[in-house]
Symmetry: C2
Subunit: 155 residues, 2 copies
DNA sequence: CCTTGACCTCAAGTTCACTTGAACTTGAAG
DNA sequence: CTTCAAGTTCAAGTGAACTTGAGGTCAAGG
């Protein structure tokens, strides 16, 4: 006589790949919702799995939980997300990924130019020169844009 | 009558771009060295600027302080680094960057294929599917390799 | 001599995304 | 009825890379 329409914490944990503690944490943070059973236990709707998949994908793209919360808020809460919803968001994500890739490529190219120019001691090298270093160069970190600022974990 | 051969904390801070607190922290962590003046104040050799530039470049490449400490240990302590030293290391760094870029590109391509295939709800999408999600797919996160595991900040 | 500002040490705080632990309750099986 | 895994809450811990604060010292100018 088990209910097919709700899931327990352990089921959601197993099927989403998130630890139970993470599920509680996400609920705390307002990223997911859970109902309560008589005895006070969490009961999840199946849709939470889709939501968790979304959360994982987004965090793989490098979004913070705060940003993910915002994107989830944009998402229709009552209806199932449409193709349009999903495409809008994945275009956004693609943009983020492209930025991160481009930033890393600039960094790599900067490194290449350092190798090429033979600036051994890094003293005048823009690659690692934020302020002065040699006391003469004013330039700054030409190859170090801001897109890389966000940490990024992929479990 | 100022000594041209040693630098104070504030000079090193200004010229390296690191906060004085960061310099003390790095000294604590064994990344840099400082002598002491009569009154117990730090006095840095000019070479510390090169070392700090190295540290910044390395951390921009995504190395942890622990890894940077190891690389610094490999570096000749008594003599000035040669072109060979620098090239060995920058090849290593280039490799790291290439890995990170490749990983992000795989992620992006996975996202593209998701958009293409129209798997709206992410339910069967390998891009965000670590364990099960639909209760039927066994696969796993095909597009999520390990090279992205390390956070990465660029000040 | 006094003030000011740069410097010192050591402990504790910060942010992010969670995990761990302590202490307790629930519910199903035996 | 007992037992025990699975669940609950709330507080505190983790790790990376630093920063901030408290409380005190040193050096130079006036």
């Amino acid at each position: 006589m088990d209910r097919h329409d709700v899931l327990s914490v352990s089921e959601v944990a197993r099927r989403s790949g998130y630890a139970a503690s993470a599920l509680r944490f996400y609920e705390d943070q307002g990223l997911i919702e859970a109902g309560r059973s008589a005895g006070g236990r969490r009961s999840y709707e199946r849709s939470v799995l889709r939501r968790l998949a979304f959360i994982r994908a987004a965090s793989n793209v490098g979004l913070t939980l705060a940003e993910i919360r915002e994107e989830l808020a944009q998402l229709p809460s009552n209806r199932t997300p449409t193709k349009a919803d999903w495409q809008r968001i994945s275009r956004h994500w693609r943009g983020r990924l492209d930025e991160r890739i481009a930033a890393l490529e600039r960094l790599r190219d900067g490194l290449d130019s350092c190798i090429g120019c033979g600036c051994l001691s890094l003293q005048r090298c823009a690659f690692s020169n934020p302020a002065d270093i040699a006391g003469t160069v004013a330039a700054g970190a030409a190859y170090l844009p801001g897109e890389l600022r966000r940490p990024h974990r992929v479990r």
